[in-house]
């Protein structure tokens, strides 16, 4: 399989989808002639022209709103918001318009649109350029949310997002843009809503998001040398979450560590732990839709459950390197949490 950088995998996905479907257009600040601040739209302007690849003013509300309107009217826009922190400036368009529109209009509209942005600390970019705000989006009904952790998923999830008839937030990670990894040649679409078991194990389940997937794999390696078998799950899609894969693993291990760069309170990790707790000791026999449906009741949970969250402290991301280093979770902290749940 060819090795491709994460950022190139994104540009490839966009180029392939634009070639495949002329309704796909790209909008954002510096995404056109300059090819994007991190290079994720490089070459598109030259290949598809300025009608379909548009440099915009610094007007996030107008850009996202225009994408919503264009989607309603038959296009399949892909918007870039330069850093996820800035999505706060257009949050009304995301939450009150994009997410609710189909529902409140009684299903009359489809919103096939994608908002790409990136999260993540680690570049000393400071408090307003380092946020991981995925929990905001996951909280809102009507949005799908993906967080690719590898070049293959950066490509495959973006292609699936563009083909989906719903608004999808694609949350890349700025520190992964330079990462190289194998990407299957030819058509490569990663279905939304399916987690990936990155490493099999039997003692403890680690669910990690985005850049923390790599840290979790390193932690699993470390604890393996101590005789602990850790299973590492990358949900890839946070909404809708692949509950089956996570619950099946926790049913086996009875120990769950979650790791992400977002803050702990009301984070995706808290949601995953709540899900596992709801299933603790659940009976093996399905109890029917009245009990909640889905996987609820369909699978036995573990009799006991030990959990830990590995997250940054509940502070903004500090600029200075020694402080940011303390702030950012890493493999060592994940390994420590694994040892704790092992007791």
């Amino acid at each position: 399989m060819p090795e491709v950088r994460y950022v190139k995998a994104i540009a490839d996905a966009l180029a392939e989808e634009m070639a495949r479907d002329e309704r796909v257009i790209v909008l954002g600040e510096d995404v056109g002639a300059p090819g994007g601040t991190f290079g994720a739209t490089r070459g598109l302007y030259q290949q598809f022209g300025k009608e379909r690849v548009r440099d915009t003013p610094i007007s996030e509300t107008a850009i996202v709103g225009a994408a919503i309107g264009a989607a309603v009217a038959g296009l399949r826009p892909v918007v870039e918001v330069m850093f996820m922190d800035f999505i706060a400036t257009c949050w009304d368009q995301v939450v009150n318009q994009m997410a609710k529109m189909r529902y409140m209009f009684g299903g009359q509209v489809r919103l096939p649109l994608v908002v790409r942005t990136h999260t993540g600390a680690g570049l000393n970019a400071g408090p307003q350029h380092s946020g991981s705000l995925e929990a905001w989006a996951v909280h809102v009904p009507g949005l799908k949310v993906v967080m690719p952790a590898t070049p293959a998923d950066a490509k495959g999830l973006l292609k699936a997002a563009i083909r989906d008839d719903n608004p999808v937030l694609v949350l890349e990670n700025k520190t992964l843009y330079a990462m190289k990894g194998e990407v299957p040649a030819g058509e490569h679409v990663t279905p939304l809503g399916r987690a990936e078991v990155r490493r099999g194990g039997s003692d403890v389940t680690i669910v990690a998001l985005s850049r923390m997937v790599g840290e979790a794999l390193r932690a699993a390696e470390t604890v393996a040398a101590e005789g602990i078998s850790a299973e590492v799950i990358d949900p890839r899609t946070l909404a809708p979450l692949d509950r089956d894969t996570i619950l099946a693993s926790v049913a086996k291990t009875g120990r769950l560590v979650v790791a992400h760069e977002a803050w702990a309170p009301c984070g995706v990790g808290a949601e995953i732990i709540a899900l596992a707790a709801e299933h603790r000791g659940a009976p093996r026999v399905p109890r029917g839709a009245s009990e909640g449906g889905g996987v609820w009741g369909a699978m036995s949970g573990p009799p006991t459950l030990m959990v830990r969250r590995v997250t940054p402290p509940h502070t903004p991301v500090p600029f200075s390197p020694p402080m940011e280093k303390l702030w950012l979770p890493d493999a060592a902290r994940i390994a420590a949490a694994v040892r704790e749940v092992m007791g």
Binding site: E29, D55, P127, P318, M323
Partner: protein, 320 residues
């Protein structure tokens, strides 16, 4: 035409040199990996903050941008503590929490540089509101760029300031680019100041590299704000000589465009003006430039010698 006094003129001239020297040093330290993170330099644009801030009192306020080192220095911040902040050291104004894009000196009226384009303008409106309510006669200057002019935040801030007649001066440093995107691609028309009419405030476009012309326009705007006559939108046409951020290869602009703007450098132009009026003798100029260089050297050494913050300091100052 309002002319700067000799004191004001020399202060402006010195501040321009200070910003130029400081920014060039930051570029060197960034290239040498002494300064982490993202850095946006204002080389070429020094005249705008130097001139506008020369008109401000100590308790006046400045809302700065991501390209704000010069704005902060012009308001009187100590180069040592600015440089130390850029280095991420405990002795920096924000103790290493903020860095280049979050550089604040509240006791000098510096409301902070800002990493979110346009976001400083509503806040500038707020400090102007406080000044109006408390009848302090303080003026707030809100700096912004040609790119920032297209944010919703800028539009809302300008309208609110106008309708409440707030003591604020909106200073647009129009350097013709928003990141890598030229103004013609992000804005129809070439005058941001012309928008002022629609907001119901004074609007003036000036050559930002012409210090006396800029001084005249800024003095009128500051006086108007201070005397209760409301806000002004002052657009200073200028140009950045370096990349949008350090490391930007500047593929999007022609070399002769840069050369043409270098020829319009405000520093020698204003030096000629000073010399013509007998305000600056050759030996004085030499002394001033030497003193500025020494100050920047001192600031750099101070930053280098300064301790790193304790990692645990990351946990402080979330709440009062």
């Amino acid at each position: 035409m309002r002319e700067p006094t000799r004191d004001q003129a020399l202060r402006i001239y010195r501040t321009m040199h200070l910003i130029r020297r400081f920014e060039e040093r930051v570029a060197e330290c960034f290239a040498a990996a002494e300064i982490p993170g993202f850095i946006h330099l204002a080389v070429g644009q020094e005249s705008v903050p130097a001139t506008v801030c020369a008109l401000l009192e100590r308790d006046d306020l400045v809302g700065a941008t991501h390209r704000g080192h010069g704005q902060v220095l012009a308001k009187g911040a100590e180069p040592r503590r600015v440089m130390a902040e850029l280095f991420g050291r405990a002795t920096g104004y924000c103790r290493g929490k903020g860095g280049s894009m979050h550089l604040c000196a509240m006791d000098l009226g510096v409301l902070g540089t800002n990493g979110v384009v346009g976001a400083n303008l509503p806040i500038a409106v707020g400090t102007a509101l406080a000044a109006q309510v408390r009848a302090t006669r303080q003026v707030t200057v809100g700096f912004f760029g040609d790119g920032a002019a297209n944010t919703g935040a800028a539009h809302e801030a300008l309208n609110l300031a106008a309708v409440w007649d707030l003591p604020v001066v909106f200073v647009c440093e129009n350097n013709l680019y928003a990141e890598f995107t030229p103004q013609a691609v992000h804005t129809k028309g070439t005058s941001i100041a012309a928008r002022a009419a629609a907001y119901g405030m004074r609007g003036v476009q000036v050559d930002g590299n012409d210090v006396p012309a800029l001084f005249d326009a800024a003095a009128e705007a500051v006086d108007a704000a201070r005397s209760g006559a409301g806000p002004t939108l002052l657009e200073a046409m200028t140009y950045r000589w370096r990349g949008h951020h350090e490391g930007d290869p500047m593929a999007y602009r022609a070399k002769d465009e840069l050369e043409a703007w270098r020829a319009k450098d405000a520093i020698p132009r204003f030096r000629a003006w000073l010399v013509e009026r007998g305000m600056l003798a050759a030996d004085e100029d030499e002394r001033l430039v030497g003193a500025v260089a020494a100050e920047v050297d001192d600031a750099t050494e101070f930053a280098r010698r300064s301790p790193w913050p304790a990692p645990e300091a990351a946990l402080e100052d979330v709440h009062a």
